[in-house]
């Protein structure tokens, strides 16, 4: 559903990202990995049109630039790393902003808000003032907003997550990654920037490792994430081991 070709991003004449081709199918979970400054966020921004780029970004066979704004909003959701919102909206009002590109009755919106907030485990925060929430709580409320925004997609939607687990506690990290997989089973394509390689191993079908703005490795996490490749990219060699249920872990 997502096809990228000959993508390049520059800032002040310096190449930030150069990617020949990348395709993501509906139902796929792709992790973007790489050291700081490798171009992970730039890739996400190029996909959603937040940064200038050359090359093609196609969604369901149609260039992103040719999509009408509301329809694109219903099919492409972005969860930013942190929220800048400082005005005292209630958490449920923040989620309700996700209904702007939708054509739903007020009652339907209320029902959807309850559903997506429950999915993101933030329903108990609905009457709280958003700026007073913790970083992790804010991020879950924002995710609920994005899920509401994508809830009326006619074709499988694409969800972009910028370090979705960075502010979450251990329990919520796994809850969130499980949720991402559930969404993928419903047909969502999910691209997330991750830092935890174990999360990538256990929750993602594919990973793309960027280094200095170029793709370095791409493939199934348990094939790509080996001591050699990790050592080359991050200058750190982890130790691998197997859990009793045959799952690979690294330390």
């Amino acid at each position: 559903m997502l096809r990228i070709e000959n993508l390049t991003c520059e800032a002040d004449g310096k190449a930030l990202l150069s990617l020949d081709t990348l395709a993501v199918d509906a139902g796929e979970t792709l992790a973007i990995l790489g050291p700081n400054g490798a171009g992970k966020s730039t890739l996400l921004k190029a996909i959603c049109g937040d940064c200038r780029h050359r090359g093609q970004v196609e969604l369901h066979g149609c260039d992103r630039l040719d999509w009408c704004a509301d329809r694109l909003a219903r099919h492409l959701g972005v969860l930013p790393q942190a929220s800048q919102l400082t005005f005292p909206f209630l958490a449920e009002e923040v989620v309700a902003l996700g209904s702007i590109p939708l054509k739903l009755s007020q009652r339907a919106v209320r029902e959807e808000i309850t559903r997506v907030m429950a999915l993101c485990d933030c329903l108990h925060l609905r009457e709280r003032s958003f700026p007073t929430l913790s970083g992790g709580e804010k991020q879950r409320v924002q995710l609920a907003r994005v899920l509401l925004q994508l809830s009326q997609a006619e074709q499988p939607p694409l969800l972009l997550l910028d370090e979705p687990t960075s502010a979450q506690d251990l329990g919520h990290q796994h809850h969130l990654l499980t949720l991402i997989n559930t969404l993928a089973e419903e047909g969502y394509a999910v691209i997330s920037i991750l830092h935890d390689l174990n999360h990538t191993l256990h929750y993602c079908k594919r990973c793309l490792i960027l280094e200095a703005g170029r793709p370095r490795f791409e493939g199934k996490p348990d094939e790509v994430l080996a001591p050699d490749s990790i050592g080359q990219v991050w200058n750190y060699r982890p130790t691998f081991g197997w859990l009793q249920d045959d799952r690979l872990v690294m330390a």
């Binding site: 704004a69 329809r71 492409l76 972005v78 929220s83 919102l85 400082t86 909206f89 923040v94 702007i100």
Partner: protein
Amino acid sequence: MRASAPGVALLLMLGLVMSAVLSIATGPLALSSVDSLLALLDHLFDWQLAQLQDYQRAVVVDLRVPRTLLAMLTGALLAQCGAVMQGLFRNPLADPGIIGVSSGAAVGAVLAIVMAPLAWVAWATPVAAFTTGLLTTLAVYALARTANGTSVTILLLAGVALAAFAGSAIGLMSYFASDQDLRSLSLWQMGSLTSASSTGIVLSALALLMTAFQFQRRAAALNALLLGEAEARHLGIRVERLKLELILLTALAVGIAVANTGVIGFVGLVVPHIVRMLVGPDHKRLLPLAAVSGALMLLLADTLARVLVPPAEIPVGIITALIGAPFFLALLLKQRKLGKL
């Protein structure tokens, strides 16, 4: 804790009607509120109910009523534009004055007061104020525009620089002003509702109707903008166009307000804040309630300005600044405590 928006609206409307009656009945010439109201009805429907002399009727109909109307219209325009600017900049400290509209408009108005032939002044002032206000705003916007959108920091700083420039331009022009002009200039610079002309009232009413309608249509988009520009874009909002439209509408409304009354500060800052505290930041509720509250606040401030030192009166801008400046400082302290400054 939030108050219910319909309840707040009802109370505000009630307050506004009562303040309007108070404003019409207040002044150096003592008239009862009943007679004042009757005189207004007589004028509207050609009746003879009020027990008043002709000169007393004239005070009510020709002086107090236009002034009351202008106070309400200007207050509503300023407060509404303040609410929009704060949303646009995602900064609760923003005010129409800050992006340069007020100072730019002031330059045009002063130019008209000093240069235009006497017969033209009534028309030339609002037209010139709107034109230079708009030009200033567009210049600031062009300065702040970058490849990735508009930089709010540059927008604010450019507003500061232009305000300083406008201040010196006005100072320079006052050298060339006649004594008569100088007096009306200084009064006007402090913000005053004394020159309530029918032209001014009609223009203000048209501007308020149009901007209120246009702002309300964009209320949901303004809410989304509070999330951040990228987030608003992801929600399907054409952010660059929205910002340009909002800036144009604000320039129009503030330009007309400044031409009529001079620079009345802080209404656009204080009112949206209080309303936001009462009903929350949702622009669908905030914008209309801010307009009504702005009308109420400026009307009360002007009534106060007329009764404090009778028979003279204090320019209303001084009253709003006396209330607004400490409020602004309190907001600054609060922001500093939150670590946002």
